[in-house]
Symmetry: C2
Subunit: 120 residues, 2 copies
Amino acid sequence: MYICSMYSKELLKGTLGVIILKLLEENGKMYGYEICQKVKDISDGKILIKDGSLYPTLHKLLKDGILTTEEVNIGKRVRKYYTLTPKGKSEKKMVVQELEDFMETLNKIVFTDNKTSPAL
Amino acid sequence: MYICSMYSKELLKGTLGVIILKLLEENGKMYGYEICQKVKDISDGKILIKDGSLYPTLHKLLKDGILTTEEVNIGKRVRKYYTLTPKGKSEKKMVVQELEDFMETLNKIVFTDNKTSPAL
DNA sequence: TTTGATACATCATAATTCTATGTATATTTG
DNA sequence: CAAATATACATAGAATTATGATGTATCAAA
């Protein structure tokens, strides 16, 4: 897992957690590697979450009571499935709403002509 | 200049530079304080750039040859106007395009139901 | 005259992601 | 069968970037 995201890594900041929560709510339970692949698929390879970013984030969400884990043995390997806790579900709603608001505002600033409008 | 942005500060990461470049291209020249006020106005007070964030960013863009300055005396005060260099203009196009792409992708991931689509 | 707005600056801190590195199993391909 | 690639997790240190705190100074209004 060594390839680089197409986007400046800084743009992803603050959105990684939202992405994880959204996918987990949608799919019920997922394991780390699966999340990376899913994001890669949906984004057509444009967003590539590094494992060095993903696992620390998952551990933090776990510590904060947003997620729970369940270990499943696959052959000799242990696979860790993550699920949203009830707290995680409301947290998901919050951060998705926040992101939506923010993107709307950003749209107004960056993708709109603000020169002509005399404000009000 | 002490109030806090409505949004998690992490969401702003990577976008502050884009915002500055967009506003400067649109308005020709602006000074720091003016940029803060403009962003506040356009965003209805939702994005409040702190001076501790703005000035270091402006200095960095200056150092990188993205901006030039022009000092104007207003009474006894010196006001620093910033303008895009030619390099800055192409940089602006690049980062705005990058942000647009990223937001489109993020939309696909976070605001779309990805459960049903069997992904071709 | 004193409060708040205007206007700039910088340092230390916090937050977050990335790079690099490590371990180990499973599968595919030459 | 051997080697390469994919699967799957983990963590420490580095880099980036916005913020908080602090400082200086002018100007207008109450």
